[in-house]
Symmetry: C2
Subunit: 111 residues, 2 copies
């Protein structure tokens, strides 16, 4: 299946941009991410999620939410919090999070 | 050199999140991106740039600007505009841009 950018949401909406550097495939990582992807689908206001990682390099993940309340509820979800503590301790060399309000969006679909 | 997430900027600032799907290494792509990276460094308000691409999958690029005026000036830069026209016509299967105002940021550096 060819991936496709998520989007086409009516502004305003909110994004959490998560940029990180970590070793390839640390222990337990893939299972945790799969579980979090399942959990986040059920959060109120969740719009979408996408992720990219250059092998040996930087990873960027973006989560899209309708409002800040939904994004904050996800930040505070106990299983998400536990995964973040574990990630800080064991997985990530460094990371940064940028929480933003999207005011404009546009796109192009080659089909 | 190990990459590291850019950031540590004082909010508010602006991000352009660009998500795209394209074939690997289309003709002229690398040269154009290198040239644009040089150009954007000189734009007023430019804070940083980072990019990740999963092989065969999605690419995500984030540009950081101090204010919306700087980001708009970059959007309207003639060489950037020409590259975007070329990219739409020849490189990208699909893409989406999200322009947002960052209101919170935090990070972790494992060193």
């Amino acid at each position: 299946m060819t991936p496709r950018p998520v989007g086409g949401f009516e502004p305003p909406y909110y994004t959490a941009v998560f940029t990180s550097v970590r070793p390839d495939a640390p222990e337990g990582y893939a299972e945790t991410v799969d579980h979090l992807k399942d959990l986040v689908q059920d959060m109120p206001g969740f719009l979408g999620y996408e992720s990219a990682r250059t092998p040996g390099g930087l990873g960027i993940t973006v989560a899209y939410f309708r409002d800040l309340a939904g994004l904050d509820a996800w930040r505070d979800h106990p299983e998400h919090q536990a995964a973040k503590r574990h990630g800080r301790a064991h997985w990530y060399d460094s990371y940064r999070v940028h929480i933003g309000r999207v005011e404009r969006s546009y796109g192009h679909d080659g089909d």
